[in-house]
């Protein structure tokens, strides 16, 4: 299967999030991904990267966030890895509960899961990796 891979290691600085978004966008452009869906994938990627910076690496600029954008014929797979201790996905508060609706944070994973087709987490002693996948329909790619 044809595969293109783009990699970026960035410091854990939230002021670099836009740069990371542009990296993902550029990688998707090279894959000739449908522009209508591209922005949603970029937004989903920024959710994973923001979590890695803030919750995984606790904003420590010496800790890296590794981003890999993998383009296959039928899907985009993005890996975001931090150096943190991980979290329990099932322990996250439901941002849709009335008591949480006015909160300023806690919606990242919800958005991520809504915009992508598949989301998985890999917790290891060296850090947490989130893997997000979006399938591409035949009509949406020129490859």
């Amino acid at each position: 299967m044809h595969k293109k891979i783009h990699k970026l290691a960035m410091p854990s600085r939230i002021d670099k999030i836009e740069k990371a978004a542009f990296f993902v966008e550029k990688a998707l452009k090279n894959l000739k991904y449908d522009p209508d869906d591209r922005d949603n994938v970029v937004i989903a990627a920024t959710e994973a990267i923001t979590n890695a910076i803030i919750h995984g690496n606790k904003n420590d600029p010496n800790k890296k966030v590794q981003i890999t954008v993998e383009g296959r014929n039928d899907r985009i797979v993005i890996h975001v890895k931090d150096e943190g201790k991980g979290f329990k996905p099932n322990k996250l508060q439901n941002p849709l509960s009335p008591e949480n609706l006015m909160r300023e944070n806690g919606r990242g994973i919800l958005i991520l899961k809504s915009l992508m087709d598949h989301v998985s987490f890999d917790f290891s002693p060296t850090g947490t990796e989130i893997i997000i996948t979006k399938f591409i329909s035949e009509s949406k790619t020129d490859e």
Partner: protein, 117 residues
């Protein structure tokens, strides 16, 4: 993130251009709102029509703005919600919290209607 301010009657409109994704750039929007409230401008519209990417951090900034405006006894409306941004409001159910309008004119007109009723 560029912020352009325009005063229309007793309504302050902030036109945002760029990406609303957290960090110091996004905080500028909340600072701007607080400065309007200090100047007793409590009817505010934030226009998102020129915002390319917004994520949950951006939504968090809008929530912070809304809370500040409501605490000051004012009202905040959102305009220029593209399909992409509307989708985020739907996913997060914030569509039930924010008043959203197709464009600035409609949001400002709504303020005027609110005042005459």
């Amino acid at each position: 993130m560029q912020i352009k301010e325009e005063i229309r009657g007793n309504v302050a409109v902030l036109f945002l251009k760029g990406n609303l994704m957290g960090g110091p750039e996004g905080m500028k929007v909340h600072e701007k709102i607080k400065s309007l409230l200090t100047d007793k401008l409590k009817n505010i519209v934030i226009d998102l029509s020129k915002v390319k990417w917004m994520n949950s951090s951006g939504l968090g900034i809008l929530m912070a703005c809304l809370t500040s405006v409501q605490k000051a006894g004012g009202n905040l409306k959102i305009s220029g919600t593209t399909d992409k941004i509307k989708n985020l409001f739907m996913i997060t159910k914030l569509i039930t919290i924010f008043e959203t309008y197709e464009n600035v004119d409609r949001a400002v007109a709504r303020f005027q209607t609110d005042q005459t009723n």
